[in-house]
Symmetry: C2
Subunit: 201 residues, 2 copies
């Protein structure tokens, strides 16, 4: 997707906030009024440019017919079973999506991962729970991370992180620490856990 100019982004934000304020998109005249344009055609042409770049689509003939593209809806993917090889966010891994909402959870969640197994029960993470994962938050020792060891995805507490040695701890007395030598086994830290959803109790 191409990038918007400053002005185009301003208009896209105006559309979003109008929808959030009123429940429906603005008209060309609304946009012109808000930004001080003397002609509604200025808004029209901006909208066409934003549409061309794929951020919105415009339903012809319909008043207020501005539809935000899916990428604008900002839905968070839920990752179920991760297929071996390929990126974790690949489409075939996406079980469903959940809308990002202002008052729910931190805004930094990049995806949810459905937990398999009972290796983290001692910190209250159960099988089938959805953990909210942030890719940005750089993993610190002591934090719960999503790691990929030789294409196997796992959730563990990060205990030690060096170039020669990585230690991951299951939070369950029945399991013992996992020691990895990154030069032998392929290891990727996909992100840190920042939230949790249990859909049924």
């Amino acid at each position: 997707m191409k990038t918007l100019t400053k002005r185009q982004e301003e208009i896209l934000n105006l559309i979003k906030s109008h929808i959030s304020d009123f429940g429906f998109p603005p008209t060309r005249a609304d946009i012109a009024r808000t930004l001080g344009f003397k002609s509604p055609n200025a808004a029209e042409q901006h909208l066409r440019a934003i549409e061309k770049k794929g951020f919105i689509s415009i339903l012809s003939g319909a008043s207020r017919g501005i539809v935000l593209s899916n990428a604008q809806n900002d839905e968070i993917p839920v990752i179920g079973l991760v297929a071996a090889g390929g990126p974790i966010l690949a489409e075939e891994n996406v079980e469903k999506t959940i809308p990002r909402s202002k008052n729910l959870l931190s805004s930094e969640i990049d995806f949810y991962l459905r937990v398999k197994g009972d290796s983290m029960v001692d910190v209250g993470i159960f099988e089938e729970d959805l953990i909210g994962v942030s890719k940005k938050t750089n993993p610190k020792t002591g934090s719960i991370v999503v790691a990929r060891i030789n294409n196997e995805v796992t959730v563990k507490t990060l205990i030690e992180l060096n170039q020669s040695k990585v230690v991951l701890r299951p939070e369950n007395q029945n399991y013992s620490d996992i020691e990895i030598n990154p030069s032998v086994d392929e290891l990727v830290i996909e992100g840190s856990c920042v939230a949790l959803i249990r859909e049924s109790i």
Copy 2:
């Protein structure tokens, strides 16, 4: 709030599904077309009736200016500290609200309750977690319930439920079962836990 007639409810649902499908409300003509009215005025008059009953408001002069009333937005309240006396859902107890979304959690959640204390850690319910509570689901023994004992709100597993004796179990080895005689202590089962959200890990 007054109750809608069958037809009015049909129209309100049409409005909601139009918003969900297109991102903006329908016009009078849209409504008339969908329901087979031969006059847009039929839609207009239904809208006025629905507005009068408080379910929507109509912005005059604006196209598609149908705004769902707050009650229609279907936000789930988050209950923080519960003030002694009065209903649990009283406004002063509401910390914030969370939009109900199709793909997230069961639709039967009536409110979220912020957990205080560590009495349920063994079933993965931690302090500050939000538990989704359903009032409808009638409490069975073995299920986790929100109970009110003499105006104190607590989350426990329901073990026994008779007219003469109620047993609530904390899921934490450090605590012991609570036995209540409903003829001595005031007891209200507010609902059952059906979901959980942990906003920070």
